[in-house]
Amino acid sequence: MTFPILPEQASDIAEQTDNLYWGLLCLSAAVCLVVFIPMIYFLIKYRDGKPADRTPRHLPEYKIEITWTVIPMLIFMCFYEWGARHYFIIERPPPDAMEIDVVGKQWMWKIQHPEGNREINELHVPVGRMVKLNMTSQDVIHSFYLPEFRIKQDVVPGRYTTEWFEARRPSSYHLFCSEFCGTSHSHMIGRVIVMTPTDYENWLTKGQPGSTLVQSGERLFRELGCSGCHMGNSVVRAPPLEGVFGKPVPLNDREVVAADEGYIRDSILFPGKQIVAGYTNDMPSFSGKVSEEELLQLIAYIKNLGSQSPPEKP
């Protein structure tokens, strides 16, 4: 019969959250002492039937009230700042993290590695490497919750949300869905398996990846006919995609947008929404024809194009 109090600290963030937990517990203990000790003392001392000096004493009401308004407020502000600083670390994934795509679907997690490996409800990651998860949902709102890493992020349909962690020790950890998503919400769980870098490499190669994400993205790019317009030598005028990812894109209505995953995803699903400057709205919409995983593969391919220099304007 074990009585665990804290889940295992699998990352630095987990350790900082636990420090914040102990700090808040100390605050609570202090407030409880300040409230319960005098209350119990008064209950015993001034109980009906007990002789005690009950002449009403004039207490400096305003001074007391001001002190126990200002002091709690100041203490609370300190905890606010502590929590906010920690939140900034959790919410801002480092730029050089290893990117893994996660698609939440009603009652399972589909995970895609850049090298092409696909897994369901399992996430293999190397130890000591910063891992950034690009997550979206196919149907309802889920939430990717890793208790041992103390991180959680809702997975919302229609947009990408990110989450990042860096495992400290190779082991197997819990993965829960923590936003109610229907009948088997409690079965939408999985494992995060942290491996040493060498085991991770073997797992990658052994996992017969077939084609990497970028290769399957390229295959889709041709099959769906994107290359027909977007490759340089086409008769139809369509914006070149080489070197586009991450750079600002001027739009028709004189606004400027950074071409991130979300922008590319929306241009595929709702082409008429943000038309590149100087082009007309005649790209067909692919919503309903492209699944979330295929979208992520196309984006990986376009990101890969991003590293090459764009050909001079036709």
Partner: protein
């Protein structure tokens, strides 16, 4: 029907004291006289029956959930049934027990008595409020009977509109109608407290229960309409298949969360503020001492009501809400905790140099202070951004809001019910049984909900009917505590009903309290006061030095 009452209050020659008929007798005994009454006291009693009915439904659902959670694999009920159970428990408790209980039962009965009025400003609207409440309740019970709803009481998009194939529209209609009942009750209280106060009763002579009821009514009136519109949008999206939260059209499901929580966080203050008002009354009466810092306690109720509308974003820290908004809502959530802290400190200091009678209402009041302090402090945990990322949507949150709602609100309601029971029924409840029940409830409650804090921090998510094996030991403790709590709640039901027949006759002022409601016989006559009382002193003019004997059942 309306006999012309004396316009100006002139001291009459004392007529021989002809026994005034009580409101139970004068209005008539027939069912029709009860169902068509516009007497605020009878409507309060009618509300008591209604919320008792809905409380039992929700309590049964809670009992079944606790039994299911004893074993890690979900083996007692299927997952669909479990999802319907926690939706029944959540929806029925929130809208059909917690929100109406103190304002509509105790508030309806006591507010006109406390301000020295003959009735509320709009008696007919008050009766309409009760009928709307029952219609909403029946719609909700009908949707439960024909198959139940499995979206949780939060009806989150897109699950509630596109992916749940249960009776969401009927339940939403029930809650929509019950929302109107809340608006009418709130409206009635606001206008009555403004317009119908007895001569001489200025705002700073109002008892603190009225301050918190006024603050609650402001929230009731200002928050409920947004819920009404949000639920209309969900129902419309289910019926026509198109909605503004639909990601396919470019809509944003997080916008639903904003609109829903704009109502639902002030709603939790609707639930706790009346409890605070009751505790202010009980602490002063049973320690025989004026409250310490009357103005600060009064204004902290209003402050909670106002700042309560600024903090809803702390429910959405991980819902892809922007980081900046997270900072704003976190700092405001810490600010809203300050008035609650002021109240707790003031209650504690009121006990200093008092003459403390540990009667049942006082036990409930002390229980409220204890449990609400723990609940409020864990609220500070959840307001810390980095910490909330780990514990939101886990059992830590479940324990937090049960400490506030069950430990705070229900304890406050039971304390108020016992305190005003002699005034409502004219009978005294059995004192020792009352104290026993209060103790059982306090112990059962802590054994039920404290382990949930620990299992919450361990990472057990909310609304799971099958969980990882290492969480089992805390869930078994919680289920054991739940059975003790169940016994604790059945006890008052038994001896209060028993006291209706066999309880001792209650004098006009058994607790020697100073409120206006104690200056009229109990149970009070139909028009509350022979002639409208004139208020000269501020409330709570107790003197702890004098030995006073309180009358017990």
């Amino acid at each position: 029907m309306n006999a012309t009452l004396p316009q100006t209050i002139t001291p009459e020659i004392p007529r021989p004291p002809q026994r005034l008929l009580t409101y139970l007798e004068e209005g008539g005994h027939t069912l029709g006289s009860w169902l068509l009454t516009t007497d605020h006291k009878r409507i309060g009693v009618l509300y008591l029956y209604s919320i008792l009915f809905f409380f039992t439904i929700a309590a049964i659902a809670a009992a079944m959930m606790r039994m299911e959670l004893i074993t890690p694999p979900g083996d007692m009920v299927t997952s669909e049934t479990y999802n319907k159970l926690f939706t029944i428990h959540g929806t029925t408790m929130v809208w059909f027990f917690l929100i109406p209980s103190i304002p509509s039962v105790l508030g309806n009965f006591v507010v006109p008595l406390m301000i020295g009025a003959r009735d509320l400003a709009f008696p007919r609207l008050n009766l309409l409020s009760w009928y709307l409440f029952n219609l909403g309740g029946l719609l909700a019970v009908y949707s439960i009977a024909v198959g139940g709803v499995d979206t949780g009481w939060t009806f989150y998009e897109p699950y509630s509109s596109a992916f749940s194939n249960t009776h969401v529209v009927t339940m939403v209609a029930g809650v929509f109608v019950a929302g109107f009942s809340s608006i009418l009750t709130g409206l009635n209280f606001i206008v009555s407290i403004h317009k119908l106060r007895a001569p001489g009763m200025t705002w700073f002579k109002l008892p603190l229960f009225l301050w918190s009821t006024y603050a609650t009514s402001v929230i009731l009136v200002m928050a409920t309409p947004v819920l009404a519109m949000t639920l209309v949008l969900v129902a419309a999206e289910r019926i026509w298949g198109v909605g503004i939260f639909d990601p396919k059209l470019g809509g944003d499901p997080v916008l639903f969360q904003h609109l829903f929580w704009f109502y639902s966080h002030p709603a939790v203050y609707i639930m706790i503020l009346p409890g605070m008002g009751v505790v202010s009354e009980l602490i002063t009466c049973f320690s025989r001492k004026p409250i310490f810092g009357y103005h600060f306690v009064a204004f902290s109720s209003v402050a909670i009501a106002l700042i309560g509308f600024f903090v809803w974003g702390h429910h959405m820290f991980v819902s892809s809400q922007s980081v900046y908004a997270g900072l704003v809502f976190s700092i405001l959530s810490y600010l809203v905790a300050v008035p609650s802290a002021i109240k707790v400190f003031n209650w504690t200091l009121t006990l200093y140099r008092g003459r403390i009678h540990l009667d049942t209402p006082m036990l409930y009041a002390l229980g409220f202070i204890g449990l609400f302090t723990i609940g409020g402090l864990t609220g500070l945990f959840l307001a810390a951004l980095g910490f909330d990322v780990h514990v939101t949507d886990t059992y830590f949150v479940v324990a937090h809001f049960h400490y506030i709602m069950v430990g705070g609100m229900v304890t406050g309601f039971l304390g108020g019910l016992h305190y005003w029971w002699p005034k409502i029924t004219g009978r005294l409840y059995p004192e020792n049984l009352g104290r026993l029940a209060a103790l059982i409830i306090f112990i059962g409650f802590n054994v039920t909900f404290f382990p949930q804090y620990v299992v919450g921090y361990l990472g057990m998510p909310r609304r799971y009917h099958a969980y990882a094996p290492e969480f089992q030991v805390y869930n078994v403790m919680s289920s054991a505590g739940a059975s003790v709590l169940g016994v604790g709640y059945v006890l008052p039901l038994i001896y209060l009903i028993w006291s209706l027949k066999h309880g001792k006759k209650a004098p006009a002022n058994p607790w020697k309290a100073t409120g206006l409601e104690w200056q009229t016989p109990s149970p009070p006559p139909k028009h509350n006061f022979a002639q409208t009382p004139i208020v000269t002193q501020p409330p709570y003019q107790y003197s702890p030095e004098i030995e006073e004997e309180l009358v017990h059942g």
